[in-house]
């Protein structure tokens, strides 16, 4: 398999391996496959890599610019990409499914009523549609352990709030555009909150600290 990719610098000590420019399930699968290939063949074998992480369509590497430079790592990546093309893409997205119990609506899901009327469905229908799919964790970002979940049914997709709320409670489950996500901590935020989970998503005493790693799957269960 020949792959289209670009190696881009962001300043003198960050490299992006870009596999595309869109939010796309297929590209994201390749990103995670390449991420674990490079974890074994680049990250774990180099002392100059400071941080290494996947996004929707890219892999980012922060490195120590005192020990190496962009051109050296770029060459290494080009060589490793040839190897990756031979080994081929392996769907190694973490097969584990994490079930998240959610209290929908009411005090916990204070935007459910409004969202239902915007999308023209009953609250019950929104909950049914939201609990149906197996969501893929595309990306963790925004704040520690915040999973961006792909696979939301377009019927309940809804734009984020124009003005973010000053405080969203810990565990809140929200919708923004075509994505759904969970707030691991109380924070300001603009997602529309449809429910809340009691499950602790992020534990500072553990590495990895998050229960929902990138590449895994999430299923919401109504309680």
């Amino acid at each position: 398999m020949t792959m289209d990719y670009e190696v881009i610098h962001h300043g003198e000590s960050t490299i992006e391996i870009s596999l595309g420019k869109s939010i796309d399930m297929k590209i994201n699968l390749v990103v995670h496959s390449l991420f674990s290939f490079l974890t074994d063949n680049l990250d774990n074998r180099s002392d100059y890599i400071i941080d290494f992480y996947p996004t929707y369509h890219s892999i980012f590497i922060d490195f120590n610019e005192l020990k190496t430079d962009f051109y050296h790592i770029k060459q290494k990546i080009v060589d490793l990409m040839k190897e990756f093309e031979i080994v081929g893409f392996v769907d190694n997205s973490k097969k584990e499914i994490i079930e998240i119990p959610v209290n929908y609506g009411g005090k916990d899901g204070f935007d459910l009523e409004r969202l239902s009327s915007i999308v023209g469905l009953s609250e019950k229908e929104v909950i049914q549609i939201h609990t149906k799919p197996l969501y893929k964790v595309f990306l963790i970002g925004f704040m520690p352990g915040f999973p961006y979940l792909g696979g939301l049914d377009k019927r309940i997709s809804c734009l984020r709030l124009e003005t973010p709320r000053p405080k969203i409670p810990e565990g809140s489950v929200g919708i923004a555009g075509d994505q759904t996500g969970i707030y691991p901590f109380a924070t300001p935020g603009g997602w529309r909150i449809i429910g809340r989970t009691e499950m602790k998503l992020f534990e500072i005493g553990k590495i990895p600290p998050t229960k929902i790693p990138t590449g895994s799957f999430v299923k919401f269960i109504e309680v």
Partner: protein, 345 residues
């Protein structure tokens, strides 16, 4: 042990940062002025990653309950011990039981570092001692008034001083922000960016430094997919006003980016004061790498001098004199009519 009497505008524990956890959405955090941070530990022969207190905006006061050597680095300013001008930045001193240290706001920068010999007694959170301001993962690292802090292995070391020109040379703002442009930024846009004069917005914080100028209208319309960002990434949101991402920024961002500020400029940007005009200036990847390495070599080669206090009386006025081992004199008057005179090397 010490007690915080005044925690100032914003004081927190920081080390070099929290690395390798961006895949879990955990920001790097860490000291904003890496150079001053490093010197705070070097002056006391601490581990170079030992946690320091990062003091933003001065107005900091603490009281010591045991003998220990301390160091303060940051904008050149004298700190008060028991209301006397006794400690210059980029030097260490021994404090006694009951001594009170005061760090005032400076006109030459925003951030000071306070280190103690042997380090503060803290537990690491996710591999690091750094406070992350936007989340609650490390709340215990944010300092509050009346808080008591224990020391790990308090030691008394020989007071040392370092040539302060380093701050002037590499950290104090020269009115220019260097930027390594992204590959796709064309000449016209570079001209647009570099012709403008910017001011630092007072709403800047550990997540981002916000700049203000005539908006860059090329960026008014955008619909970006969130992607990775790094320390120094320059984003242009739809309002056309640049944002420079700092240590506590999110790991991904959804605005257009034009480039990244090189590592050696970050301390200077962190120390920038509001209301001073600044301009962007492009720098190449290889030039930035070269400068990073040169400054790092200079830090590794830096020499510290032992010094001693002596009190002299001139015309009935007491002057504290610091004499370094190479016989340079640093005189500090307790009266403002005397100018601070300093010569090392």
């Amino acid at each position: 042990m010490m007690e915080i009497l005044k925690s100032g505008l914003f004081s927190s524990f920081q080390d070099v940062g929290r690395f390798g956890l961006k895949q879990y959405g955990v920001s790097n955090s860490g000291c904003q002025d890496r150079y001053s941070f490093t010197f705070a530990n070097l002056l006391l022969k601490n581990d170079i990653n030992e946690a320091c207190i990062e003091i933003v905006g001065g107005n900091f006061k603490c009281k010591f309950f045991e003998k220990v050597s301390i160091a303060v680095t940051g904008p050149s300013e004298q700190c008060l011990i028991n209301n006397e001008k006794r400690l210059e930045t980029y030097s260490s001193v021994n404090v006694d039981v009951g001594d009170v240290l005061e760090i005032k706001p400076s006109k030459m920068g925003r951030i000071h570092y306070l280190s103690v010999s042997g380090g503060f007694d803290l537990n690491k959170i996710l591999r690091s001692y750094s406070y992350h301001s936007p989340s609650s993962i490390s709340d215990e690292y944010k300092l509050k008034g009346n808080q008591k802090i224990s020391f790990k292995r308090p030691k008394i070391t020989t007071p040392m001083i370092f040539n302060q020109d380093f701050y002037k040379k590499y950290i104090e703002s020269k009115g220019v922000i260097k930027i390594i442009y992204n590959q796709n930024i064309n000449k016209h846009l570079k001209n647009q960016i570099e012709s403008r004069e910017y001011m630092v917005n007072i709403n800047s914080n550990r997540q981002a430094i916000k700049l203000e100028s005539d908006p860059l209208k090329e960026f008014f319309k955008q619909n970006e997919i969130s992607n990775g960002v790094t320390l120094g990434t320059v984003q242009i949101p739809p309002d056309g006003q640049p944002i420079i991402l700092m240590q506590d920024s999110q790991t991904v961002g959804g605005y257009k980016t034009i480039g990244v500020v090189p590592k050696y400029q970050i301390p200077s940007i962190a120390q920038m004061q509001p209301n001073i005009p600044i301009k962007f200036q492009g720098v190449s990847l290889s030039e930035a790498t070269r400068i990073n390495r040169n400054i790092n070599d200079e830090i590794n080669r830096s020499k510290f001098f032992k010094y001693q206090f002596t009190d002299l009386y001139v015309n009935n006025k007491k002057i504290s004199v610091k004499i370094t081992e190479n016989n340079s004199i640093i005189a500090i008057a307790d009266d403002d009519v005397f100018e601070v005179y300093k010569e090392i090397n």
